[in-house]
Symmetry: D2
Subunit: 357 residues, 4 copies
């Protein structure tokens, strides 16, 4: 060996040292110097801090059974305290949130339960978690009834979900994702709403009145791209992949078609369990996203391969210790998502054409 | 050991014997007696044969980058020869199909290419596969122009995609998924169309005319459930999970709300790479689906954990050898997907209310 | 729905609530009521506590690049404070531990480094972690020199590794896995020692003297089974699967052949990333282990699907808060691993025949 | 877009076209132009052909429950027809092979069987495959009896397994891995023999005679490295990862310490289900192996992410069609593995020191 150390061998791994009373902050701080996914999770915290310190509008994407699985109040917390500015979600996560906000529950089960016995009792299983199908049916009816209160015109999912959160808050005054977003005026997009029980509720609204339940998902595309065009920069926090991951990236790609100033997300972090090597979007690498311009070539980014139910509580608990000032000082956009056009810092975004800022 | 064999030890594993000139049929026949995913793939062939021999309407769900990855002509083949009756797809698979049907190509790359260099040349990477972003932009414009030819009213994705396939066929006369479905009059649903480049094309149509690009995804929910209600039984073939997997199951669940005769899919097979233990829908087990009534308790079902690009060519090549008679004799539904209402065996399905047959 | 709740719907999921200053203990306590792998990790803590409260001898199995990845001082901590009684490890984890105890380091790298450039500088990569190959060569020589100090007779890996830990401590007085095990008199087995750099060091010892470097791995089998026979009960903590997982289970199976009193581990927890459905031992389920008698049918058990570098720091930090009394009071075996026969509570275990207690 | 095509966009993906009567050869030939793991599997065939056309000594590593899972006669076929020159295996694959060669069977079960019921009937489960524990016990005794026939001296696993294959052939005249290797004089190494039922059989031999059951795993290290030193070049075919994968690579690394002429395997292919991002050796990338010198920087290599029970039958069936001439003409080493020293092309390899050729 040459006497001089290689440029590659500069920063040693520091073995994690267990001591009494470690906080979430301590854990992630020590994990910054270990390897593999532990290090990646610790790095995710630092990148999220940088997002908060920047001028980026932060998109949060949520896929997987996060609400059924006990993560909904963390997501509500992220919205309420504006760790994020805009939510893109699967319908299921919003639906299971609504279920609990309405006072119903999910239950602790096991993956080895007898599904025939569950079916006989009309209980639905999500891996190790259970819910009453009858309660789900009543949610659908509740949504259908709400749908009938709306005007007989197309709503983007963003406008529809704002109204839904408003109605839910007025009726329950309970904390959750939809109600937190309503109160914080944080827009929610749900590009695959037709593939969810919220979509089923909408379809049941239309069953009662053929003019009800009109959803304009194409308007969402335009609005989300205009949001990216309007903001100085963007960042992406993806939990679980799925349609939210792609929709957040698509907004960036679509925005570039209409504005030379848009150059991909400036920061990106994802916590996923899918892998890149089968070619699917959920597991695709953040490097690959750079080839498309979804992410800037200079972006700071990290991918964490972990179940969200393990990684997210630790990550957010650690952020909670270190971001008080960052949250207080951050330059966040102020929205009014209550009308047909999304208003950002007092200016309405068109939903029928792309518009350079 | 007792002299009597246990009831558990009845059917021995038969080690796979390599001989010269094995066909796809031989391979899967011999794999029926091995273990693990090899056996599951071989079982999938037998279950698909049973679907074809039954009165079931067969849904095919396609997620993951199957078209970019060289699987589109297999899917077109399944549609053309009516191995399946109804396609539910991600937008990306239809878009990448359209790209090739229009004469453009995807290219063989590598997962270790330099994404900054690719971005500089405007080349988009999907794991080990590449495409020209400029060609993609021209597809988007082509779709936008087509959108402007349509009436200024909402289209379900099913009606829209039929018209798109028709237009594509008339312009190219090339074989692909959209064109095969057009010619075979096989309906296609795309519940997450807003999360795809087809959605982007639609949004660009609207950019040119605010009244264009109206998509009614709630109508798709009603229509797909009415299809399940109308048919004597259903079956599900899922490639890759994603929104198509859930949408096919949702149709079954939604149908049960309006018809006591509906009891879940009678057959189900899925080829997925996701796993059940993180709780996401893509990897969820077929047993779990039974608790929801998505699948009948008596259904025959198999889950294969494999990349579709490995499993599908072998599976379909083997089916091709053994299903000639089954395909000729099967009681398949005849569709007319050309209008606002889907016509099945001469009878229109409502798209604004659920209707028992 | 009947008015009475189903027996399945008794214990609701409690959404994780983020508050300021959460400790590792708080995190896992709140995670007990979420779903999926978060719940499993929280359950693992409770099962480990039960192990400590019981009369079980606790085996720890370590596979994967845990030492290179910054986990070695956690493992040393578990040994020192007798969270565990016996270590079964891959050779690599002991070798990378020795590397750091000798004052060398692993370094923080990235999975996308240029491997040709690394090879040119003689730097070895383990995913995102780096080490100097020249330093590795000098470790091998150091081990070879130590081997030449030993008697020219076969050593079980257990005896050999005790002597290695002793030598390492005497030379360095540094804390690590091997030195902690030496000081705590905790036996270490390394069934696949021939598949590791420790084995390479042994082979280089023999290169210098053909009578040196004799390892008796068959003696390890007998000794480990006799240990299971002798102890009132056993428990298994498996990190990463591999040969340690199977060896710990094999000891239980082998012990049953010679003693009717042995009935499989009473507790088992594993943190693995492999999955059951490909049939390999690393990912095999704990239920499957029950069919073999590796685990008792009544055992309490949990499998966590997570990277050890994410899960272990959190798990052990939480245990550290709640187990002080349990550790002080536990009925742990006292070993003398310094000679050809392992001595347990003053009684030597044969290494050349199985012996009922 | 510039008129000239990018250098990246040269070779288009060719969609797989289904036609009647496709052979394994046809399947893989068409899969060369698709994407993801399908392409990788097709590439694996071409790389194996190049191995056969070269002067490389081909190591085959087998881990995972391949023999129990119906793959043993494929492995025997690879040995008999000298697709490979040297086997490195887990003990389990050799043990389950011996079980069937002795006329016992594994049985088709299911992953959802009741393990308590299986345990009650003394049936052992390997995911979806079953075997009689009583038959396993009799195998162990049979091995123990064989062990007592051997000289009371240490045997490398290579010598021991040759004798075991010889004994098995003489007693059964049945085809299998051990018997094929015996007849073809192909050496087998089993570095983790202590972590298997073959090890248990050895330990039971020693139980009957304390001088029996001596295994010299350190000799295996020296012998395997000397084999690499002696041969002009080497290649690696890895199924499933595990200790065989590392042992084959270790032989290369160890050989380089003693010979400047050794430069890593010239070809490498692996079929694995583990992933790189958790840092474990089973899933480690072939690029990473280049940093260590396990693989030559110029090596041709491919990693296939697939279950061996899906990929191997197809791969070997296709090779069978195209390699007749290659097998007939190849420059393969001729071994005599019957004595304490492995003889290669008439020259004995030392097992007590490393020796440059």
């Amino acid at each position: 060996m040459s006497r001089r150390k290689s440029r590659f061998l500069r920063k040693p791994v520091e073995p994690f040292a267990v001591t009494a009373g470690l906080s979430a902050d301590d854990l992630l701080t020590r994990m910054e110097r270990v390897s593999f996914q532990g290090r990646n999770l610790a790095t995710a915290r630092r990148i999220w801090e940088k997002m908060l310190a920047s001028d980026a509008t932060i998109f949060l994407g949520t896929a997987g059974a996060l609400s059924a699985g006990g993560m909904r109040l963390i997501i509500a917390h992220l919205i309420e305290h504006r760790y994020v500015d805009c939510l893109v979600s699967t319908g299921a996560n919003l639906y299971h949130d609504l279920h609990e906000t309405r006072g119903r529950r999910h239950f602790i089960g096991s993956p080895t339960l007898d599904d025939a016995a569950l079916a006989a009792e009309r209980i639905d299983r999500v891996y190790d978690t259970l819910a009453s199908e009858d309660e789900f049916c009543r949610n659908d009816e509740w949504i259908a009834s709400f749908v009938l209160k709306l005007e007989r015109r197309p709503y983007t999912t963003r406008e529809f979900l704002y109204k839904l959160g408003e109605h839910l808050w007025n009726e329950t005054e309970h904390h959750g994702i939809l109600t937190a977003a309503y109160k914080a005026k944080v827009p929610i997009f749900c590009p695959a709403i037709a593939d969810s029980s919220i979509g089923m509720g909408l379809s049941q609204g239309r069953h009662r009145d053929p003019a009800a339940g009109q959803i304009d998902v194409i308007g969402d595309i335009i609005e989300s791209a205009n949001l990216v065009i309007r903001r100085p920069s963007t960042a992406s926090v993806v939990l679980g992949g799925g349609t939210p991951k792609n929709f957040i990236n698509q907004a960036s790609v679509q925005a570039e078609f209409f504005s030379d100033k848009v150059g991909g997300h400036k920061f990106a972090l994802q916590i996923v369990t899918d892998v890149p090597h089968f070619g699917g979007a959920s597991g695709s690498s953040l490097e690959e996203a750079q080839s498309w311009g979804k992410l800037s070539i200079e972006s700071e980014k990290i991918s964490v391969q972990a179940d969200v139910t393990v990684a997210l509580p630790l990550l957010v608990a650690a952020l909670e210790s270190t971001t008080k000032d960052l949250l207080a000082k951050r330059k966040r956009p102020e929205f009014d998502p209550s009308g047909p056009a999304l208003v950002v810092n007092g200016q309405a975004l068109p939903e029928d054409h792309f518009q350079e800022s």
